[in-house]
């Protein structure tokens, strides 16, 4: 290796400063550094830093410290020291609450002390051997169970294997692989797993053979990356890990991107992902543009892969280099004309020219090899956006036979239901989808979920699909068929005001007022359903007396309490310290303080993009004037951006959970759940919709009122 022609990366400079490079690499770098003032300055800085570190004072503790320690031990004082991480783990280690240093003062005179359970006791541990496997390698798994799974004869390791270019987890969960773990003589469970040759990244959970006891590492799961022979994580592993983390834990997703940029500084993907995910951390605009020009020039000289070309398209857009963008987009189309990045860009470029966009997609679809799911999904979306129903049906008919159940499958089936000519086919697709959901295929169960949780989610999803199907049938002029779908949804046992409203409209359209009345009472009883809507519906039942109203509401309330109470839990509040913006410590119990509470344990970034802010404002209005409160806990430190977000959302400034201890204890790591806490300070429900949380809170109050 003779002298570098490019600037060395920070990784290489760090290696040189740390004296960790081999002689050839060090010589080549040194030759460059000597001739380059910028690199010379950077290397000097790293060396100065080390020298300054070596120069730091090395004081000893105060002379009387031992006397204090000796006296305090004699007085019976003890400290529980923080537990060691059980094994090197990639994730940020969050110390459990019980591991906090707790000075147990006031225990003078006790000869022996019973300390609280050792921090981390009862926690499980999972290890992979080798810890840095290459694709295709056999990996031995050792699992030390926590309390929940310790008595099981055998266990099951559930692994979601992701390939280098798998789509985000919302679309592709990853191939499921299961391994039976058998006990060894040391109280551990062992098994082995052969990684596929296209392995990039995996997430892992452990459960018992019946699947009703699950260890998902407090929601975080265990992770396994693919590595190169030299032990470096593959870029594809980091890409997949980022995709898995990005909607769950922004800071950890960002850390993965930083690792990618550190390990692969000469790849456009490393920087384009970072720039898209967190522009502030990617340096100034000028730096980003300079870096792009460097990578652009490097790629022009070399032979970039298709993935790298697609990244150059994204990167050029982010630094607003239109000329380079056109160049790389054309190159991408040359290589893979139906590449999803190329198709989505071309469709967007046509802008208002609908005919040109449609012609482009048609041409692509009719070319051998380019009739992909992505092409027809683009066609379907574009047609829907332009309200072109016939074209949307044509694309739906093309997409559905591709036999990949994806996010748009139900939308496409309903598009077909809406038109008489394609209704039969749409109904058939919907039936197949509903039947598939009812089966609850284990291969589609997420690692976090037990089969019971999947059944609950499946019931909700089936009900929601049947309501949409019924609405399409009603709009198509078939109220009888619509009511049959609504009734089938109702039999799933979920409390759903949108179902009651849809069925009420269908029943009234048949002129059946008495048939519609129970649904009116249900809407009237629901604490979240709009009062204005209930009032406007009241006119549709002119013969209804106030006494009838009250009786019907009471009956509906009982039904609501029964349905909503079915999945309730009862769990005490974790004793995790939370902090105000001025650093004062508060317990969760003191914040709840006898008030029914909805708890949000979120990073502000989790709010964005889903209209959740407006939902929070609506929930706050619903709770206003009553005893209920919304309590927001965040791991995010105080900042102006957090303050302005809280102001915009109409939220009280949050309490700080700096190490995400509360989220971890609740198993809430990065998920968008809401916890409903009753007046007695017990967690009763965890739901994924804020309005649902408000409903549960109000129903708990109703129950309390009835009890009183």
């Amino acid at each position: 290796m003779i002298g570098l022609r490019r600037h060395p990366s920070w990784r290489e400079l760090n290696g040189l400063a740390d004296e960790e490079l081999d002689a050839d690499a060090a010589a080549a770098l040194t030759e460059h550094v000597v001739a380059c003032s910028k690199c010379s300055r950077n290397l000097s800085f790293l060396r100065d830093l080390r020298e300054a570190g070596r120069d730091m004072r090395h004081p000893s503790p105060p002379k009387d410290l031992w006397t204090d320690i000796e006296r305090d031990r004699e007085d019976g004082q003890r400290v529980i020291l923080p537990a060691a991480p059980s094994a090197p783990s990639r994730k940020r280690r969050v110390l459990p609450a019980a591991a906090a240093v707790a000075i147990m003062a006031g225990l003078a005179g006790l000869a022996t002390l019973t300390l609280t359970t050792e921090a981390g006791a009862g926690a499980s541990d999972l290890q992979f051997h080798p810890a840095s496997p290459v694709p295709g390698e056999e990996v031995r798994v050792t699992y030390k169970p926590g309390i929940d799974l310790s008595g099981e004869p055998m266990l099951k390791l559930r692994v979601r294997l992701r390939a280098p270019y798998d789509e985000p987890p919302r679309d592709v969960l990853g191939a499921l692989h299961e391994v039976v773990l058998e006990p060894d003589d040391e109280g551990q469970f062992v098994g082995s797993l052969r990684l596929p040759s296209d392995f990039a990244f995996a997430v892992v959970a452990v459960e018992n053979l019946a699947g009703d006891v699950l260890d998902d590492r407090d929601g975080r799961l265990w992770a396994l990356r693919a590595h190169a022979e030299d032990g470096t994580p593959l870029q594809s592993a980091l890409r997949q890990e980022f995709l898995v983390l990005q909607n769950r834990s922004w800071p950890e997703a960002q850390e993965v991107l930083e690792e990618m940029a550190y390990l692969y500084p000469d790849r456009a993907e490393s920087w384009s992902l970072q720039l898209a995910n967190e522009p502030d951390e990617s340096g100034s605009d000028a730096e980003s543009r300079a870096r792009f020009r460097l990578l652009h020039a490097q790629a022009e000289r070399g032979e970039p892969t298709v993935g790298e070309i697609a990244s150059l398209v994204r990167y050029s857009e982010l630094v607003e280099d239109a000329e380079a963008r056109d160049q790389w987009l054309a190159r991408l189309e040359e290589e893979v004309p139906a590449h999803r990045v190329a198709v989505s860009r071309r469709v967007a470029d046509f802008g208002g020219d609908r005919a040109a966009a449609a012609a482009y997609l048609e041409k692509l679809w009719s070319t051998d090899g380019f009739a992909t799911r992505h092409t027809c999904e683009e066609g379907y979306r574009a047609a829907l956006a332009e309200d072109r129903a016939a074209e949307a049906r044509r694309w739906a008919l093309r997409c559905l036979p591709l036999d990949e159940r994806r996010e748009l499958t139900s939308d496409m089936a309903l598009t077909l239901v809406a038109h008489e000519g394609t209704r039969a086919q749409g109904m058939s697709e919907m039936r197949a989808l509903l039947s598939h959901l009812a089966e609850g295929a284990d291969a589609e169960r997420r690692l976090h979920d037990t089969p019971a949780e999947v059944r609950e989610q499946s019931s909700r999803l089936q009900a929601s699909l049947r309501i949409r199907l019924g609405a399409e049938l009603l709009a198509a002029g078939d109220p009888g068929a619509a009511i049959a779908e609504f009734n089938a949804a109702d039999e799933l046992g979920v409390w759903l005001p949108e179902l009651y409203r849809a069925r009420l409209d269908a029943t009234l359209s048949l002129g059946d007022r008495s048939g519609a009345l129970p649904d009116f009472h249900r809407l009237d009883a629901d604490p979240v359903y709009s009062r204005a809507s209930v009032d406007s519906l009241r006119d549709r039942f002119p013969s209804l007396t106030e006494a009838d109203m009250a009786e019907g509401r009471t009956r509906a309330e009982r039904e609501m309490i029964r349905r909503l109470g079915a999945g309730r839990i009862s769990r005490g509040l974790p004793s995790v310290p939370l902090f105000t913006s001025t650093g004062q410590s508060r317990s969760l119990a003191s914040l709840v303080a006898g008030r029914p509470t909805i708890l949000l344990v979120w990073d502000q970034r989790v709010f964005r993009g889903d209209g959740q802010v407006s939902e929070i404002i609506r929930a706050s209005r619903l709770l206003a004037g009553g005893p209920g409160q919304l309590l927001w806990i965040t791991p995010e430190p105080d900042s102006e951006s957090l303050r302005s977000f809280a102001r915009d959302a109409g939220l009280e400034f949050p309490f700080h959970d700096p190490e995400s201890e509360l989220a971890t204890t609740l198993g809430e790591w990065g998920m968008r759940g809401y916890f409903v806490i009753d007046r007695a300070g017990m967690i009763r429900v965890r739901v994924y919709s804020l309005m649902e949380a408000v409903r549960h809170l109000e129903v708990l109050e109703l129950e309390l009122r009835d009890t009183v």
């Binding site: 990784r11 760090n14 950077n42 000097s44 800085f45 100065d48 830093l49 080390r50 300054a52 570190g53 070596r54 120069d55 730091m56 004072r57 090395h58 004081p59 000893s60 503790p61 105060p62 002379k63 009387d64 410290l65 031992w66 204090d68 320690i69 000796e70 305090d72 031990r73 004699e74 003890r78 400290v79 529980i80 020291l81 923080p82 537990a83 060691a84 991480p85 094994a87 090197p88 783990s89 990639r90 940020r92 280690r93 110390l95 240093v101 002390l113 300390l115 050792e118 850390e255 930083e258 690792e259 550190y262 902090f579 913006s581 650093g583 430190p637 105080d638 700080h656 700096p658 190490e659």
Partner: protein, 190 residues
């Protein structure tokens, strides 16, 4: 409290062989003379790590106090296969980190002015002890820990990774982030 100060560079791993199994066994039983012997051998190392991680002699006093006060009970978690000095360094590191996090929560309200620090560092040349100490104060606990363990304690990446419960590559990335941030602080960009 009077602090003894000298400039000897000592490191637990370099100069302190593991204590005998007998001493560790007595320590685990809470025998006072065993704790005193361990204190005499390792208090400087624990104190130094605590001081470097927390940046405050008062905090370093408290951390050292807590580590030795809780050491006999913590021995229940000690794995005899592992060198005792390295394990003790881990205990000191984690206890300091917890202290530092609590401190930062309070400090986040009003950060001290660093105008003198940045003015001095604009010359873009030497990083001296004083400026480094001040700049370290501005790093997050995670970044500060990795700088202290690598640049000040001279530990290899693998041991840093084990102490902090992260992978070796994550330790390298964190050190890179910390160095980059220190460079920006010292050049007055932050």
């Amino acid at each position: 409290m009077h602090h003894q100060v000298d400039n000897r560079r000592t490191s637990v791993s370099e100069n302190s062989p593991s204590p005998s199994p007998n001493l560790l066994s007595r320590l685990g039983r809470g025998e006072a003379d065993a704790l005193r012997e361990v204190y005499e051998r390792y208090a400087d190392d624990v104190y130094r790590i605590a001081l470097r991680l927390t940046g405050s002699s008062a905090d370093a006093d408290d951390v050292t106090h807590d580590v030795f006060l809780g050491l006999p009970e913590a021995m229940q978690r000690y794995d005899p296969q592992r060198p005792f000095p390295s394990w003790l360094r881990g205990v000191a590191t984690r206890t300091s980190q917890m202290r530092l996090r609590a401190q930062r929560r309070r400090r986040e309200v009003a950060l001290p002015s660093f105008s003198s620090l940045t003015a001095r560092s604009r010359s873009d040349t030497i990083v001296d002890r004083l400026t480094l100490e001040k700049a370290l104060d501005r790093l997050s606990p995670d970044l500060r820990s990795v700088v202290v363990l690598r640049e000040l304690e001279g530990l290899p990446y693998q041991e840093i990774a084990e102490l902090l419960g992260i992978t070796k590559s994550a330790a390298a990335v964190r050190l890179h982030r910390a160095r980059r941030r220190l460079r920006d602080i010292l050049r007055g960009n932050l």
